[in-house]
Amino acid sequence: MKNLLEIIKLYKLVIFSIFLFLWVGTVGIAVLIISISKAESKPPVQPINFSHKIHVSQLEIDCINCHEFVDRSPVAGAPAIEICMQCHEAVATDKPQIISLRKYWEEKRPIEWVRVYSIPEAVYFTHKRHVKAGIDCKVCHGDVANMSMMRRVRKLKMGWCINCHRKENAPTDCITCHK
């Protein structure tokens, strides 16, 4: 025992250095992993600073008013500019963001929205089926009504989908989604 203590004293610098390395190294790796996760869920800057908060929470516009095809299509889709112009032909036309919007409309240029939710191509997911099953948009997409900037609230990993499928007695065999 005494020998051990003496050895520690002799090589204290080395032992400390190893400890330091492990300590800070662990933290460093944790930082990197967390960074990746944060980078993915950070709300991306969109070409037009559209605020769901104003339109859904304040103006009480339903999701389906703009995401028209969500109950009829596999894809929810971002609304066509035509839908925005239904109101913004006349509403708030002098606000800078609306002026930008109008430019897209007049030049017939699509707005290049930055995608927030995506799943791998090999996975078959259809909005229509889930909406018809009565699942509220909030369940997967979070409290969009209160988001000033759209952000991803979950990764839509397979395990999460399967959990819900099990609970709601939906099919859980592979071919349901991996067609």
Partner: protein, 424 residues
């Protein structure tokens, strides 16, 4: 609800980039002295207690020497606080004042709390010997001062955090609901640990310096004090890795960018080097690492200051855009209104002028504020010029009525009003 609104409609007094640099640098200087004040007060209390129970006069002397430094550090901390306060009020006016307003009663209590803590610290310091016999009473002053000093950062951090996330303002009612927002409490823990570290470094340098200038018996005390400082610095720096990590985990996504990660990684590397040198310094007799340690912690502090600023800019990127748009929109509306106003028809007939200037106080047959027109017509039935003169320079004539204010109208307009009054 858009609580961001519009900005102050006056230009900034200096280029934005200058004000931002001023903010970052002056804040760093301020916070270093705040750290020293907090750490000094804490050490001044806990080592007094330890000294009492360990029966080693070293601890009490250490406590006393460190508490004496707070005389200087706390005043410098306060005076250096003004520069960042003014800079942040300029660069982020809406966000900073918005947060101040939301946490108002607590924000306003800060000067009073600081003042009380300072007075208690003065008492604790100056009665060290005279109250020395009544240990617990003396200690009470120190403990109360420390409690106050350790509560105040909650108020600051709540504000400085709240200002970054205007999206949360709708859901926050005041200080306590803002306190529990991410990531105030992790920041607080990070800040306290930093205070311990900085005070440790400070003790190391200060007592090392004093050791070099005193006789051998005194030098022993100072060397031991210096080593105590190194120990605190080392432990706190290592602990910061954890508190920093917690901070990083709880950082709201919108404040994140890869710059933050890079700065954190660099800071970790610098922290490793500092710890390494500190460890050596603690175990060696000939102290050689003073300069590299000083250089490294300066770098570390600069990195931290930059980190804060990057996080702030990330979080406020979109809100600043919204603010600029709101301001532009308002100015445009105002300009348009002013144009329309100029084009508007100004009251020109006697009737229009009367409606614009007189009708507020004078009705036709009843008393409002001034006498009714029927009375006026009768009074000046024969003397038109006198009525014009009176309207031009009203005097108090009737004790029953208040004095009519001078309206500053040109004579032609008064003439038209008078004609109108006669015609009714």
């Amino acid at each position: 609800m858009n609580l961001i609104g519009k900005d102050i409609l006056l230009p900034l007094p200096a280029p934005l980039i200058f004000l931002k640099w001023l903010l970052v640098i002056s804040f760093l200087l301020h916070i270093i002295f705040v750290n020293l004040m907090l750490g000094g007060a804490l050490f001044g209390v806990i080592y007094r207690v330890i000294g009492r129970y360990k029966r080693d006069i070293f601890y009490e002397r250490f406590a006393r020497e460190i508490i004496l430094t707070t005389t200087v550090t706390k005043s410098i901390a306060v005076v250096l606080g003004v520069a960042p306060l003014l800079s942040i009020s300029l660069v982020y006016t809406k966000f900073f004042y918005g947060a101040n307003g939301i946490t108002a009663p607590y924000w306003l209590s800060v000067p009073l709390l600081v003042m009380t803590a300072f007075l208690l610290l003065y008492i604790y310091k100056f009665t060290w010997d005279t109250l020395g016999k009544r240990f617990f009473i003396h200690l009470l002053f120190g403990i109360t001062a420390c409690t106050i000093l350790f509560f105040i950062p909650f108020i600051f951090l709540t504000n400085i955090n709240l200002m970054l996330y205007p999206d949360t303002w709708n859901n926050v009612r005041g200080f306590w609901s803002a306190l529990v927002l991410p990531n105030v409490i992790p920041r607080y823990l990070h800040f306290i640990t930093a205070s311990l570290a900085i005070t440790g470094f400070f003790s190391y340098f200060l007592f090392k310096y004093r050791a070099g200038r005193r006789s051998t018996s005194d030098a022993d005390f100072y060397i031991r004090s210096s080593k105590l400082g190194i120990l605190w610095a080392l432990v706190a720096t290592l602990a910061q890795a954890i508190f920093g990590l917690i901070n990083f985990i709880t950082l709201p996504d919108v404040a994140f960018s890869w710059h933050v990660t890079i700065l954190v990684i660099v800071a970790l590397i610098v922290a490793v080097l500092v710890s390494f040198f500190l460890f050596q310094e603690y175990h060696s007799e000939n102290t050689r690492f003073g300069l590299p340690i000083f250089f490294l912690i300066t770098v570390l502090i600069l990195i931290m200051g930059t980190l804060r600023h990057v996080i702030r800019e990330n979080a406020l990127e979109i809100p600043k855009q919204v603010l600029a748009e709101n301001t532009e929109y308002y100015q445009m509306q105002l300009a348009r209104f002013k144009e329309e106003e100029l084009a508007e028809v100004k009251p020109s007939t006697g009737k229009e002028l009367f409606a614009a200037y007189c009708i507020v106080c004078h009705a036709f047959d009843k008393r409002l504020i001034g006498p009714p027109l029927s009375y006026i017509r009768e009074k000046y039935a024969t003397d038109r010029e006198k009525m014009i003169e009176f309207i031009k320079e009203p005097k108090k004539v009737n004790p029953e009525y208040p004095k009519m204010p001078k309206l500053g109208l040109p004579k032609e307009d008064i003439s038209k009003i008078v004609d109108y009054i006669y015609s009714k």
